[in-house]
């Protein structure tokens, strides 16, 4: 195994103090620290820092989020429930128009209407705007 650097030794000692495995032999660490004034100084400071930190806790604020959360989860999500009536109206309008066109007995118009019906049905079936940009992909870390 290679000779550990100061950073390796300090990280290993910190891991040991945190109750974790350091990944180095105790003999190697002890030998390095015995001959390295920098590591001795860093470890002394770090022990004091641990003491300072152990005397503190995160402030847990008095708070009650439940009323706001309850209000939000009680409401059905509008996007899912809201699309159905509009899709139905759209479909009825298209069918009505289609019958109107067919009764005029112009076969060319059918070819124009069919893609429109297919597009409408597609939007209804996928239930979501396919052109929506997912900004979350950029924001996640």
């Amino acid at each position: 195994m290679n000779e550990p650097s100061c950073e390796d030794v300090l990280m290993a000692r910190m891991a040991e103090a945190d109750g974790e495995e350091s990944g180095f032999l105790e003999k190697q660490l002890t030998a390095h620290i015995a001959g390295c004034a920098n590591c001795q100084h860093e470890l002394k400071q770090w022990t004091t820092l641990n003491q300072v930190l152990s005397g503190q806790n995160l402030l847990e604020p008095r708070i009650n989020l439940w009323p706001a959360i309850e209000n939000r989860i009680a409401k059905p999500t509008g996007s899912f429930r809201g699309w159905k009536p509009f899709a139905l109206i759209g479909l009825l309008l298209v069918i009505h128009k289609l019958f109107e066109m067919l009764s005029a007995s112009d076969p060319g118009m059918v070819l124009k209407i069919v893609p429109l019906v297919i597009a409408t049905l597609l939007f209804v079936l996928i239930k979501e705007n396919p052109f929506k940009i997912n900004t979350q992909l950029m924001l996640e870390r």
Partner: protein, 176 residues
Amino acid sequence: MDDAATIKRCQQGDREAFRHLVERYQKRAVAHALAILLNRDDAEDAAQEAFIDAFKAIGTFDTSRTFYSWFYVLLRNRCYKITAKRRYTESLEVAELLVSQPGAADDTRLALEKALHSLTREEREIVSLKYFSGLSYDELAMHLQIPRGTVMSRLFNARRRLQGKLAGVLIREEGV
């Protein structure tokens, strides 16, 4: 009622059971969000949104895991979305992040809070989870979704920066 039983009830659509989860974890969630965001309103918003995300996704929760480690991922995603969206100036008073244990000096707390403010969000987050929530390296890796080696190096760098910022305090404490 333990978390696993509560979550099973939530998965069956029991909103009252979800209320228990919110009441059990809301203070911790806001405290952790505050450690990242340094803004009380944003921290509350992030926690609230994360609980709503959790409610929507509770059906996918694997009950062999701990609830809070799963929830924390949702919480930090919300925190980072807020930081990306709002370019606010960090307006929190330095005295609002920590609370001293009995016997600990108040000026030490203030110095520590100031030092924590000077860390990056990631560093502040890992310090708060390690020291104030007592997570192990494996738990930190799970909460932060980073490899164990990155946990070690991030923690090492955060401690080093804290040591630098608190040099005066540490010398004084060493002399006590």
